[in-house]
């Protein structure tokens, strides 16, 4: 089983979360928390689109997995590449843990750090064109080094 899964286009939420639950339910974890991100219809967009830089995403994910395992937890993640229409999902993050409080803390911290640091670029789909979501994007560490 891969813990980090990337797909072209929208995620098949039910297939993914059902499979994760089946894989995890007999591992004696007490809590399974998937976070499902759904594309909102707002500002006249027809959807979102994503570019991913996989090598750094994998490094980032692996460093979180090490943190999770140190506390007996385990992380799973799926993300879309390319276009994702409104009302479909582009992102699922999940944690399993023997303990409820650890699971709740991890899903919060993991998702927030994902938003700040995962090397993924978001575009609004407007009139069939990709428009970089610059205002909603976050500077990475060391930004501006070459200016």
């Amino acid at each position: 089983m891969m813990a980090l899964e990337l797909f072209d286009g929208p995620l098949h939420v039910q297939e993914i979360t059902n499979r994760w639950f089946v894989d995890m339910c007999d591992k004696n974890y007490g809590a399974f928390i998937p976070f499902v991100g759904i594309v909102r219809d707002e500002d006249g967009i027809s959807g979102l689109s994503f570019d991913i830089y996989e090598p750094i995403l994998k490094n980032w994910f692996d460093s979180w997995q090490i943190k999770a395992k140190a506390q007996g937890a385990y992380l799973l993640m799926a993300h879309s590449r390319g276009d994702v229409p409104n009302h479909t999902s582009s992102y699922i993050a999940a944690v399993v843990s023997p303990q409820r409080k650890i699971a709740l803390k991890f899903i919060n911290d993991f998702v927030e750090d994902f938003k700040a640091n995962a090397p993924i670029w978001k575009y609004d789909l407007v009139d069939g064109k990709r428009v970089y979501a610059k205002e909603r994007s976050h500077l990475l560490i060391g930004a501006g080094l070459l200016k």
Binding site: Y53, N59, I120, G142, K147
Partner: protein, 73 residues
């Protein structure tokens, strides 16, 4: 030659540059007006590790990546 990748919305073909540290890459880009706009907000990775200093040495065959601001999910 080190390879430079322009990720996400930078949307440019990779280039190869003959440099031994990142300060030289900064110098190399100084006349690229369009890129200058981006460089103020781009992070820099050397072989897929984010870098915070211009003093870092660059070897031949190293990969340098420019990463604009991110927004996953």
């Amino acid at each position: 030659m080190a390879k430079v990748e322009f990720l996400g919305p930078l949307s440019r073909e990779s280039i190869e540059v003959d440099i031994t540290n990142l300060a030289q890459l900064k110098e190399f880009f100084k006349d690229d007006i369009v890129l200058q706009e981006w460089l103020g907000i781009c992070a820099v990775a050397l072989n897929d590790t984010l870098i915070c200093s211009l003093d870092v040495k660059v070897e031949p065959n190293d990969k340098i990546s420019l990463l604009p601001p991110v927004c996953g999910g």
